[in-house]
Symmetry: D2
Subunit: 308 residues, 4 copies
């Protein structure tokens, strides 16, 4: 083995070093802090080039290679970067967060220690209404007068819960049991460590407009304030291909093709054949896949011919 | 390839088929139901024998082979069995449960649906006291008179939380937000699917006496009622080697060896050298590792010489 | 809890039971056998409905729900199905196979047992030529006369390797060391168990035309012969959305939109701005992302305006 | 939230920085290089203390806390450290290596690039003999004269394989196919990134005397040269508790207890009852669990009473 290896230094990202440990505030009392990181955009390129071998080293420029990897779901090189965050999050949002299994976690233990004395509170104008199309989400807000009343009662409930918790602790009840009636919105803290590939999956799901407001607030900051500083080329590719991209199914493609060819009749016929269009008592029935396709058509400047 | 393969049938465990779908009740309103399973003790043996190859097929009997695998942490054959449970658990216990990442999970969504109207309630004599040696656990219970008062207030808090939740729902607040102040002990439900190896790891941690009472109650039933029926040979080996086994560190072994040789002086000297024994103002200071060793000595019928 | 639970039976898939244990032959001496499975299309629906709660049970029909889950990457319900295969594969293809980490594996051990006496052999007309555009793949085949010669030498090398292996074994050399010079194409066997979600990821990557011929041969059989029988609704959705679908990046969409609007000039301008089009000495330089876009345009019946 | 957070710097381990990029040579042509790392002993403590909460911060000293975590299998804080290695390994050893699924990997691709022209070669005195008790391992070596002959033939086979590979490449055969007959001992390279907890699991299995010589050679260097420099407190605890520790089953303990109490008769009786002792035609039959117990007895200075 004639190869010569030089002494290395750890890759440094100055933009991230500058904010190391600094809290980004989220919600009324949450935060995200970057504690440590491993690697940068170049580490992704370096790992990808091991796969491609030394011979092809110069063929790609870094940016082009990172975009290629992103486009083609060649995910392993992105796993070569790692980040560690310290977060403070309402337990209710943490319940969703922790579902991402490919991460390392140390959470504040309310068995060892007294529960953090902070809850997520809601401003009078911030009570969101139940979604009607997106049945799991929310749309619009409650009128402020009613909101005021809800906010007042929220505070009373928080106060009562805490008094009861404190009373139990003072009576000597085990912390692991005393906590049982704390509200779900009580803050917890955790160290959370994850590789870049899995972090991007987290962001794709949790920055999505269908994600719940609370976790979306965290995801946006992780993406826009942290990942964008850490690996700017990757962030750019992720934005182009994942956040702003669009998936077309075989059915979508067939209908779009017919529309591009100017054949509206065929497009409608295909939509019927694919089950997107059904009529009940002369009226078009609701079909989620068709509604989604209509959004995709709009994005491409096409009209849904069944509405004409 | 001259090998002949016969038509197969799926392995069946009659003892488990008999209870499929039947709820085992846990806590005041929880349950565990077996929904489905894959494999049995023979499947473990079958998988292990692929590793050992056909030539050595007769060398081990099934029971001996399973015990060998368990003893030597040859874990992959145990991954060849899989089980699916339907569970109803207080969210607070579910928070611990879900930390076992190597499982498949579908949880009841309180974004889609109204939260389950049930909470874990506490009997007056069931308020546990904070542990003093085991600082994360509990020891003994609160006296019943004080307990009565706590139970009364617990009920009031549950009622108030639910009234507030219902009021929000009626005003049209999004379910994802309305739930934010439900108590941690509100029940949730989930389908939980896991392979046998990872299930045994779950059981080892959660059947342990240091595990919290609530999750231990679930773990005990999974182990004693379900796994014992499903894979009796594996359950027996697990009990012998994991639940009732004991780990000795290098330090433990050296001290035990000295005691067996009858050399108490050396044992004490080693304990000092290993940092197990320290004196402060003439008194032995508290040292967790030494306390743990003392328990191990007791199990072997030996006395800790530093107490003589 | 007033809920009544009935006795359950394990879901059965007759089409799969019929072929349980039966080998599907692959390559010259490989096979795939289904050993066991858990769940079916209904199990996916069942798990998804736990998430959606009982209240919304009737809203979706099974097929519609499965398609919705597939389209929106709601992957956890697909994890509720599990399958176990027995496979015989050349080690070289197995090296790629095993990179899918989310599976349970027991492989034939050539430390315990004598290595399987079978290798992947190549017919004279089956020597594939190095790809030129797809630099990691192959295109076309070598002429048969040259192929004959390569096939002859392949056989000689296999024979020699085996003779040397056998000689070592007879001299008493440890099996773990004797095997060191076996060719990469020596067959190995394994039990391989994986959940449906991760199996579909495997299939998407390994059924792709860029996947190597050998592993693609296995993937096609798993998909078309096994998954299609096991979970037909899922297989249909997977085919529509994953195998025959198409991803559009933000850049792709902008250019397509301009073309649909009939504004070729703008489309070219955007392509330049996005870096898809560069000229060197008056000639369009090679750009992979542009070539990929051209394929997408073709699929939609659009022409690349920069070629006009 | 009144808490003040200070600007952080990334933890540095000077001893590791000093060797960053420097190859440790392994076998005839392999190496291990540290490329990057995240965290150190203090990061483990920091993460553990999030769990314990701020209130108990001073209770443990770092070393004591790390030992406690190791002893009690509190593994998550060790996951907070991460290391990235660049390794060159014979594919045959890599096959074992890659079975550790919880790692990130980018391997040199012999589809993209010409295969590395290096194989693991064997010195005449280094041909190991098949194990008899440890049927998967090796014991002793072949006599040197016979070894010379094997070494000569090994070289011939390596040369022939390479000539055939090169001939295929020159004829234009796809690299993905040309490689099919390379010997298993051909070197590959990879970037391998893993967290400390999973690395320790790797080391426990692969530093074990039952592990194959080749991978053990790599594991020893990772442990003794790299982990020992990186996280010295963790390495010390790992050595005491994992490498030099011993596990006693319930059965082991019962027999040892009887022996310590001086009751040999009972010990023998228990051994019979547990199935450790069986006689066939007046002779003690071979029983692996008993042989293992005998080793444990020896370590504690006890004699197996059934041999007296």
């Amino acid at each position: 083995m004639s190869e010569q290896f030089e002494q290395l230094e750890r890759p440094v990202v100055k933009e991230l070093d500058d904010i190391l440990g600094k809290p980004f505030h989220v919600l009324n009392d949450g935060f995200i802090r970057v504690i440590d990181y491993m690697g940068n955009d170049s580490s992704i390129v370096q790992a990808a080039r091991v796969s491609y071998g030394r011979g092809t080293k110069k063929r790609h420029q870094d940016r082009g290679l990172i975009r290629y990897l992103m486009r083609h779901d060649h995910t392993t090189p992105f796993e070569m970067c790692e980040i560690k965050l310290h977060v403070r999050v309402p337990m209710d949002a943490w319940r969703q967060w922790i579902r991402h299994r490919t991460a390392n976690v140390n959470e504040y233990s309310t068995r060892y220690s007294v529960a953090i004395d902070a809850t997520q509170t809601t401003e009078p104008q911030a009570w969101r209404l139940q979604g009607t199309i997106n049945v799991q989400g929310s749309e619009g807000v409650l009128d402020k007068e009613k909101g005021k009343e809800l906010t007042r009662k929220e505070r009373e409930l928080h106060d009562l819960s805490r008094r009861i918790y404190n009373e139990r602790i003072e009576l000597g009840v085990a912390r692991e049991q005393a906590r049982k009636d704390l509200p779900l919105c009580t803050y917890t803290e955790a160290y959370w460590k994850i590789d870049l590939h899995n972090l991007l999956r987290f962001l794709r799901l949790r920055m999505d407009e269908h994600a719940q407001y609370e976790i979306r607030s965290y995801a946006k900051i992780i993406g826009e304030e942290i990942v964008s500083r850490w690996v700017p080329l990757t962030w750019e590719a992720f934005t182009d291909y994942r956040l702003k991209g669009q998936y077309l199914s075989f059915h979508d493609k067939e209908i779009i093709k017919a529309l591009i060819a100017g054949d509206k009749e065929k497009a409608v016929q295909l939509a019927e054949q694919f089950g997107f269009i059904k009529y009940k008592e002369g009226k078009l029935t609701m079909n989620i896949e068709r509604l989604e396709l209509e959004d995709k058509l709009k994005e491409l400047g096409l009209n849904a011919p069944w509405h004409e």
